[in-house]
Amino acid sequence: MGKNNFRTLIIFTICLGVFPIFIQSDYFLSIMIFIGINAIAAMGLSLLMGYAGQISLGHAAFFGIGAYCSSVLTVKFGFSIFAAFICGVFLSVVMAVAIAVPTLKLKGHYLAVATLGFGEIIYIIFNELLDITGGPSGFSGIPHITFFGHAVEGGIKYFYLVWAIAILLLIFSLNVIYSRIGRALRAVHGSHVATEAMGVNVSWLKVQVFILSAVYASIGGSLYAHFVTFISPPTFSLFASILLLIMVVIGGSNIWGALLGAGILTILPQYLTAFKDFDILVYGVILMAILLFMPEGLLNGLTSLVKWLREKR
């Protein structure tokens, strides 16, 4: 996965590991848990956007599918937590295939709007299937995760659980990027036609990445459900999909950027209270500013800035 990445990964993991030793506050641990959950979904989306160059405006739907499967199947149908979790992933895969395969032959923006339509339809389903999902009033009483009888309750345990999964997925992502698939993806970015000429089935590749990104989002959703123990449709609306998108764009369409973006966008609202009602305005301004001035995202933008400053000397 590259020496740089490996080094960063090790340092990152160690810091995360010792974090709860220094910061015992449940509040800060909860923030980190939400960052982790968002980061998992954002990583998936960044694989899709940054490496496969596709856009999805409906990813919150997969997040929601994971969340609702984990909730409904455990509470109403007595599934085990793990089984419900797998069902969520499976359903997301099926939905992802249903969306991606027909649209794979279409041009870029058609996929974008197809995902938007898909996201909205899933949102409406969450809202309307009252008997199953509880509808707009939401679904409560979601159980905590248990490992062999021990409940993963409380800040510290859940923190380790979420970040362990996040790190595993991070390693997996890095491996994908540095594998043949990743190289093929980057080739597609350069030239669709040339890559096809090299014998790569580009369309199938794109579908695979789409499915993978849906799985990430589903995992994030399940973790969210078991943490908050209450879910309702607005959490999985179009705006949630757009926020996810903003995370990836802000951070920069690479894996580390997704983590950064998730971190910033989870923490920002906590400290944006000074802006009161202008939160939508602030999001819009930030997004436009990044796109216009640092289209590669904050991560790359700041690195270039630092390099440029160094060269100035």
């Binding site: 509040y27 939401g138 409560s140 123990t229 209450f230 923490i267 209270t273």
Partner: protein
């Protein structure tokens, strides 16, 4: 490396809170975001009450400090707000949140931290545990059921939808309107209202002949009203808050249904602005509203009169606008908390016990509260009167 440094910088934003002698009360509301029309007035009312109390010397000389957190209507933020208030700010109790969803998300945290919570969300499920809700729903005669168990630490000051609906149905019964049509919005408020409308109909001998739905952002409800017009309905009950109230009123008026099928709105209609926006279409519209809407016309001996008048006049003077109904929830919640603090001092368990056992015949602006171990809502049907719009004003319906 870069990410890592950035990440650390981003994370290094912590603050501490100091502590003078104050009574800290947490206040969680959706001040910005999609539910800000609920959270803003709540915040305004709370700040006003805080000033009243502290200007009068506080509680036995100790001022109250309201620590306000904005959730933007997002449940995850409500969770974080509750944790911050309990852990970092060490509040004695939490008033909040503005919506049912956020309140539900905060419940496990308050219960675990054994901190009393007075919610401003609407649903009965906030104060009633899931198993008790299920029991009531599964019962043979669900319309007769009332909760027998409540969540130990959780209270609310919002009236139950069921009570407003029973008021409406009582009115329908007296007017011999036994066949009604219902229209509800597909949000939490509408869905809960619809459940209650269907549950309670048998109790009053009412038959629901038409059951229409619409979305919160829909701009035209003519289709639904057309179906209702064609049905044997003698009245139409519309359960929603927000602009859809006005659109339904206009559509109802345009379809010429006045005089044939009266329109009854929910208790969310109680705002003069709604009459203004609907214009002439609002004539004859009915709604179950609280005392604040007609306090000047009410009986001078009404137990809520003094409290309501003071609240209304002060709010209108301070914020220069008509009192939005949500402000009442915050006022009542904070005043209850203040009474508890006055009686038992800064002890979470004692505050909880006081609220559960000593708030009896307690006149608030939203109603006369009677909390008990089986009722953590406290207000009932008598909080409402049927009101009619007559020439642009609220009048008691005849």
């Amino acid at each position: 490396m870069m990410t890592f440094t950035l990440f650390t910088i981003v994370l290094c934003m912590a603050f501490t809170s100091s502590g003078w002698a104050v009574h800290k009360v947490g206040f969680v509301a959706a001040i910005t975001g999609p539910a800000s029309f609920i959270g803003q007035p709540e915040r305004e009312a709370a700040l006003m009450v805080q000033e009243w109390i502290n200007a009068a010397g506080g509680i036995k000389g100790v001022p109250i400090e309201l620590i306000i957190v904005d959730t933007k209507g997002v449940e995850a933020d409500a969770v974080l707000a509750a944790k911050k208030l309990i852990e970092t700010d060490k509040v004695l109790l939490i008033i909040g949140a503005s919506t049912t969803g956020e309140s539900m998300a905060m419940i496990p945290i308050c219960e675990k931290a054994e901190t009393p919570m007075i919610s401003m969300g609407a649903a009965l499920s906030i104060v009633t545990p899931e198993d008790e809700m299920k029991r009531m729903e599964a019962s043979e005669k669900p319309w007769l059921e009332v909760p027998k168990k409540q969540r130990y630490w959780i209270f609310k000051t919002t009236q139950n939808d069921a009570d407003a609906i029973e008021k409406i149905y009582t009115y329908c019964q007296t007017k011999k309107m036994e066949k009604v049509a219902i229209m509800t919005v597909s949000t939490g408020f509408g869905v809960e209202g619809r459940k209650q409308l269907k549950r309670l109909a048998p109790k009053y001998g009412i038959e629901i002949v038409s059951d229409e739905l619409y979305g919160p952002k829909d701009t035209d409800m003519t289709v639904q009203l057309t179906k209702i017009k064609a049905s044997p309905a003698q009245a139409v009950i519309n359960w929603t808050i927000g602009p859809s109230q006005i659109i339904v009123t206009k559509n109802w008026h345009d379809l010429g249904m006045r005089g044939k099928i009266p329109l009854i709105q929910s208790y969310g209609f109680g705002n003069k602005e709604n009459i203004r926006l609907a214009g002439a279409a609002a004539e004859g519209v009915l709604a179950p509203l609280g005392l604040i809407n007609y306090v000047e016309k009410a009986n001078p001996k009404h137990p809520q009169r003094a409290v309501t008048l003071k609240f209304k006049t002060d709010y209108e003077k301070r914020y220069k606008k008509e009192v939005p109904s949500f402000a009442i929830l915050a006022h009542d919640a904070l005043m209850i908390a203040v009474d508890a603090l006055k009686a038992v001092g800064p002890d979470k368990k004692k505050i909880r016990d006081y609220i559960e056992n000593n708030i009896r015949n307690w006149p608030g602006v939203g109603g006369i509260f009677k909390m008990s171990p089986t009722d953590h809502t406290g207000v009932g049907m008598d909080a409402f009167e049927m009101i009619e719009v007559v020439r642009g004003e609220w009048e008691l319906a005849k």
